[in-house]
Symmetry: C2
């Protein structure tokens, strides 16, 4: 049942070349021929085999989006922006999950690069360190890195200033009168460079205010609501609990709210909360969460445009774009009304 170009050519009494010209909107075809071919095309219901076309052209019109997990709100919202813009540009998006695992990030990137399936890769990396990143400099396929950390890797990169964002978020809590400010983030080892950057910003803000850091106020938990909730609950059980918390992800923040609620503490009156990743869930949490983060449509558009530009053959030096971030104030960080 597969109608090929050849079939159409035979039906219309022309050569395959001419049919191809019509299909691809080539200009120099006589109106008469064009009409005849057009008719055959429709009569036979011709559908080009995109696979064959891609093999021939050396381009597929597909890009891969590599993210840790699609069901993490930050990434699903980002993916939405990417898919939407790509679709408008006639590009389709293949999504794969790395789990934030260094080895999977490498393997999937390598697969994407070598398979010729895709014209480019958008990689939201987590596990990769600078060394691994620069190791993959010679990939055949263009790669744009999406990530918190700037790295000298020879690849384009889109990100934002995480240290400054964390500093601003912390400062915001200080501005509302809190003085015992903690943070909730990922495991602070090499595997999570993002948390390290944010931790640095958090500490910088405290330093600048002359407040001594209290190491006990940094709560470390994997990026899930449940584990964050448990870790924060542990913190709250201590005698000396904070009156403000900077959360490094929406998951951490939601877990934190749950723990605070469970401990009978009021937000924002007893504890002020600020979080990274301004996702819908944050806007509708009780109370709505003050959030800092980039505009995801910005990130997606910038990255996608850079990638497609590369796919079109651009060879300018690796670019490092920082998109702006915004601190959106909501009630979770309003100044406390009374002494709790």
């Amino acid at each position: 049942v597969a109608v090929t170009l050849r079939d159409v050519a035979a039906h219309a009494g022309v050569s395959p070349r001419t049919v191809s010209n019509v299909v691809n909107g080539y200009r120099y075809v006589s109106p008469a021929t064009r009409a005849r071919v057009q008719a055959s095309l429709e009569e036979l219901r011709y559908q080009p085999n995109l696979l064959a076309r891609s093999l021939r052209r050396g381009r597929t019109g597909i890009i891969t989006l590599l993210i840790p997990r699609i069901d993490v709100p930050y990434f699903s919202e980002l993916a939405h922006e990417v898919v939407e813009r790509a679709s408008r540009l006639g590009v389709t998006v293949l999504i794969d999950e790395t789990g934030g695992l260094r080895d999977r990030e490498l393997a999937l990137l390598d697969l994407a690069a070598s398979s010729r399936w895709v014209d480019g890769v958008l990689l939201s990396f987590v596990g990769l360190d600078d060394k691994a990143l620069s190791g993959l400099a010679g990939t055949r396929v263009p790669v744009v890195l999406l990530g918190e950390r700037t790295a000298r890797t020879g690849h384009d990169h889109v990100g934002y200033d995480n240290v400054a964002a964390a500093r601003d978020a912390t400062q915001h809590l200080l501005d509302t009168g809190r003085r015992r400010i903690g943070a909730v983030g990922g495991p602070a080892d090499r595997a999570d460079a993002t948390s390290e950057l944010r931790l640095a910003g958090y500490r910088a803000a405290l330093d600048a205010s002359g407040l001594p850091p209290n190491p006990g106020w940094y709560v470390s938990a994997p990026y899930t609501r449940e584990q964050a909730a448990r870790a924060v609950a542990d913190l709250l059980a201590t005698a000396d609990a904070p009156d403000g918390l900077v959360c490094f992800s929406a998951e951490h923040a939601v877990g934190t709210l749950s723990a605070l609620h469970g401990a009978g503490l009021r937000v924002p009156d007893d504890v002020g909360v600020v979080t990274f990743d301004d996702v819908e869930e944050c806007r509708f949490a009780t109370p709505p969460l003050t959030s800092v983060g980039p505009n995801k449509a910005d990130v997606a558009a910038t990255a996608l445009d850079m990638l497609l530009e590369r796919a079109d053959g651009s060879t300018v030096g690796p670019r490092d774009v920082r998109v702006p971030y915004v601190l959106q104030e909501r009630s979770s960080s309003a100044p406390p009304r009374d002494g709790g």
Copy 2:
């Protein structure tokens, strides 16, 4: 820089055929030859061109997942399950968004079917009516429908009993002593068959209890937290507000909680809430939301397995699988403690 099979063959002094045999693990290759080819393979860093292979084999190892929006928690969690299982089966997933729009659903399905890009399509349809669905019976590519509604379409279908689920959810609120039960769902026109099914179940439960339906207690809003919140706020402003609400989606439920909170009503003491779509966000809402829905891993696994079976050539009649659903009780529907 593209090393082809031919290059390797020349390097190893064998025919392309033999190299292909080695690459694909064909058994009848002499150990000596195999070793030699293996060495050349590695020395030249051969990477098969998957595009060419797919063209030849007539199979790509890619499937398309068509959903309304990837950033809706229910779909992102479902997509995660699909991607994870697919990846374990060596299949990659192309994700596209239909916006729940009938025309886009059709267009994307048609594109997927005709392009030969993919071995199959998982379509979570919303806008399509039975007529459109059966119209696409003759697609060249296997299609498995994911959706609330059973339809005689000639395609495989995975779903669950929405009427019964809505009935159970409503009954659960009745069981906790509420008598003035409303519902929050999508626009109840033809475009949203899902809401109609759930509405039917809701009404059936009220009927069975001999309670007269109050049309004013059905709140209709698009599937966003914000619009649901606004619609529910309007309802609460009326003199005769309900003491229980069945929400038809997680977005509706989260918006509902926000509206109730804004109106100073306590959940569950003043109003009990139950919702569809048991997503993470519901488990960590304040208060945690009682939810009904299928196990998404079940849905994904069933659908994917059916699809791949079809891709392997199975021609059994169209199957209609109903996966079980579970009502998970949480505090949003606990019996009220006092008269509010």
